[in-house]
Symmetry: C2
Subunit: 248 residues, 2 copies
Amino acid sequence: MGRLTNNRLKSVFKKYSKEERRLVSSIKMIVGTKPFNLKPYQIAVQHTSVAKSVKKGFKESNERLEYLGDAVLGLVVAEYLFKKFPFKDEGFLTELRSRIVSRDSLNHVARTIGIPQIVRFDKKRKTPNSHKSLYGNALEALVGAVYVDKGFNTSRKFIVQKLLKPHYDLEEIINTTKNYKSKLIEWTQKNSKTPNFEHIQTIDKGHFKEFIIQIQIDDEPIAKGHGLSKKKAEQDAAREACTILEIE
Amino acid sequence: MGRLTNNRLKSVFKKYSKEERRLVSSIKMIVGTKPFNLKPYQIAVQHTSVAKSVKKGFKESNERLEYLGDAVLGLVVAEYLFKKFPFKDEGFLTELRSRIVSRDSLNHVARTIGIPQIVRFDKKRKTPNSHKSLYGNALEALVGAVYVDKGFNTSRKFIVQKLLKPHYDLEEIINTTKNYKSKLIEWTQKNSKTPNFEHIQTIDKGHFKEFIIQIQIDDEPIAKGHGLSKKKAEQDAAREACTILEIE
């Protein structure tokens, strides 16, 4: 099986142009395995700004692969945390996952593993920061390409071995995760506003209760949250408020 | 291989109680294959209201499996649509996926395939609608259980063959997807409010431009959106506004 695959690779390899061979080497470095089919990787490293129209109104950019790669990353990280933290609840896991796959984290990892060297985009009239998420998006698209080319298990291996383990310090992420309530309160202090967490409803569900909390800022209702404790409902409402107010 | 598995199943099967055998049959009906390990399925059908504490502050309810199953569903549906619509952009795919995995859809499918018959929850003092999403959540947890028990390929087969193909009419979903802008406008008319879509910024990115649209309702800024066309930016802003205003 191994031999057959190698032969197949070699026979394909010969047909590659110099530029393609360079991409194959980069993929091998970044992903850990050589492509079977180079096509999805070529699309993954192609930003919308250089994508060609293949059909009326449809450009072959990396955005579809980014959509797919985002879902692959989501599952692999979800499973990794699920197994690593058998006694943590889904709120903890969800929050940790969202920090791992955040734009900032992905951009950082993408730069570290060499995505900038393989992404093609239109450099004309471009300021260095005009595409903050370009590299992180391309990394998601690359994950999508690995999935299309080699399936779920190879994608999982790539994500866990080449991205998660070497580039994330989970303990540090957990320790530095500020809670949303304190983030929101900090923000209101900085902006001389007054936050108010009001418990507006309790829904009785038999053996347990669900609490609804509403946040007002300077008497204006901003967000609602719910949870099985008041504390959880406050966090939920504060998270919503942080999103709405674009508090990082 | 098949024989070994059958023997393994039989030897395990003998140890099951009557109640467990009933669950095994139901899983076989719903998922299409018998469990190797019944444990994750038992957790999946156990709502928080009947979950036991296995550790201080930690209940073995189905919420962790729901978190995992949500990610499995997300990837399987993402891939299914990715392959089915090779010339549709990621905006279309994302929107269609979110309709497929929405609370309403999942609750409906869960009821149809018999999830209410296997979920265990506390029925005391419960009104019929007090747990609108209980069945959809349990379905996600069941997907998580299949994933834990049998891995990705079996989960995908279950989702595609037993959920997606028989219970979703994609054409109908596509045709009835109202756009967010018209949803928002309908809502403002019903509530005697005035919406205003304002194009507040254009970001020049070389060969293409990104548009930023802000929605005000009765002169109050509600949401912003961005996109590669004004129309897309409006949709993006309107989607955000619908979320904030809780417009279904």
